[in-house]
Subunit: 216 residues, 2 copies
C-alpha cells in the first residue's frame, strides 16, 4: 500500500509518500513541500497547492491520501486557511478516485513516537530513523507529512478491522431483528415469548459463527 501524506498549509504544505511493507516496515518514496505566495489572492493560493498535490498523485499513484485533521482550537489566524487546504486536498483525492483518511496530530505523534504529545524534533527524529534516511527531512512540514503517511500505514489495518467488525455486528443485529419480527408475526402480533427471543438470539449467534470470524 502506497500512502501520500499531506500536512495541510497555505504557505507550506508538506507532502510525503511512503510504501507500507511487511509487518511494520515502511519505505521512503518521496518528500517535498507545496508552497504558495502569501501575496496572491486566496483562491490562487489554493489552486497552486491543489495543482501541486495533483502532480504528486499523478507521479506516485498512491492508494490512499492521509491528511492531518484540523482542529479549530489551533491558531485562529491560520486555522481557516489550513482547513481550506485540507478540503481542497480531499477534493483532489476524490477527483482521482482515492479514499482520504484523516488523522489527528496526537494520533500521528502517538503512532511514530509512542507519545501523543511528542515535540516536532522527536517526530522528525523518529521519521528519519523509521525510513532509514541519511538526514532529517526539512522543513518540519515535510517530516510531518511523512509521519502522517507512516501513521496511516500502521493505523489503517486496525481501522479496517474495526469497520469490518462494525459492519458484521450491524448485519447480525439485522438478522436478529428479522427473526424477532418473524416470531412476532407467527404469534399474531403478540410480543415474542422469552423462549422465542432466546431462539432468535441463538440463530443470530449461529449465523455469526457460520459467517466465519476466524476466516477474516
Amino acid at each position: 500500500m502506497r500512502v501520500l501524506g499531506v500536512d495541510p498549509g497555505l504557505t507550506r504544505c508538506g507532502i510525503g509518500v511512503v510504501e507500507a511493507g511487511a509487518g511494520r516496515t515502511v519505505g521512503f518514496v518521496d518528500v517535498g513541500v507545496a508552497r504558495s505566495q502569501p501575496d496572491l489572492p486566496l483562491e490562487r493560493r489554493l489552486l497552486t497547492v491543489a495543482d501541486e498535490v495533483e502532480r504528486w498523485v499523478a507521479r506516485h499513484r498512491p492508494d490512499v491520501i492521509a491528511v492531518e485533521r484540523v482542529f479549530s482550537q489551533n491558531n485562529v489566524r491560520t486555522v481557516m486557511g489550513t482547513a481550506q487546504v485540507s478540503g481542497v486536498v480531499a477534493l483532489v483525492a476524490a477527483r482521482a478516485g482515492l479514499p482520504v483518511a484523516f488523522h489527528t496530530p496526537s494520533e500521528v505523534k502517538a503512532a511514530v513516537t509512542g507519545e501523543g504529545r511528542a515535540g516536532k524534533a522527536q517526530v522528525t527524529a523518529m521519521v528519519t530513523r523509521l525510513l532509514g534516511l541519511d538526514a532529517p527531512p526539512k522543513p518540519a512540514d515535510a517530516a510531518d507529512a511523512l509521519a502522517l503517511a507512516i501513521c496511516h500505514c500502521w493505523r489503517s489495518p486496525m481501522i479496517d478491522r474495526m469497520a469490518q467488525a462494525q459492519a458484521r455486528a450491524e448485519e447480525l443485529a439485522a438478522v436478529h431483528r428479522a427473526r424477532l419480527a418473524e416470531a412476532q408475526r407467527e404469534q399474531g402480533g403478540a410480543r415474542p415469548s422469552a423462549a422465542q427471543q432466546w431462539a432468535a438470539a441463538r440463530a443470530a449467534a449461529d449465523a455469526r459463527s457460520a459467517g466465519g470470524w476466524g476466516a477474516r
Copy 2:
C-alpha cells in the same frame, strides 16, 4: 456584473445568482441548494458540492464568486466542514479563472438590511423585496446566498475604489522614493536637502494630478 453567491455548507450549500443593474438595482437570476449525504465520506461530500457549484458556474457564467467568510468562533462542530467547502468553492472559481470575494456575515447583513446583527428572517425578507420575488427563497441557506451576491454587488465598487486608491498611492510613493534617490546620487551620496525633498514631493503630487483621479 453577474455574481454567484455561495453560503458554504456540507449538508446544505446555498447558491444564488444575481445581476447588478444601474445604481443599486439588483436582478434575480437563479437560486438553489447543493446538498450532500451526511453518511458519505467527507471527500465524496466535498466532491458532490464542488461538482454542483461547477455546474452553476457553467450554466450562469458569473463574473465573480462571492463566498461567506467563515470564522472559527462559530459552531466548532460544523465550522471545519464549512471552511473546507469554502476552500473547495474558491478552488472551483480559480479553475474557472474567476475572482473570489469573501464577505463576513455581518457585512452581508449590514448591506441588505442596514443592520449588521439582523436576524435570518429580516435578511430573507429584504432579499425577497430587493429582488422582487413572489415568495421568500427557501431554505435560509438559499436566501443567504442571494444576500451574499447582493452584498457583493454593492460593496465591490467601494472595494475596487479602495484598491485603486491603494495601488495609486503605492505608485506615487515609488516615484517619490526614486526621485529622492536620484537627488541623493546627484549630491554624491549625501542626504537630499530639504529643498530637494520638497521638489520630489512636488513632482509626486504633479504625477498624482496628471494621473487623473477625476478620470477614474
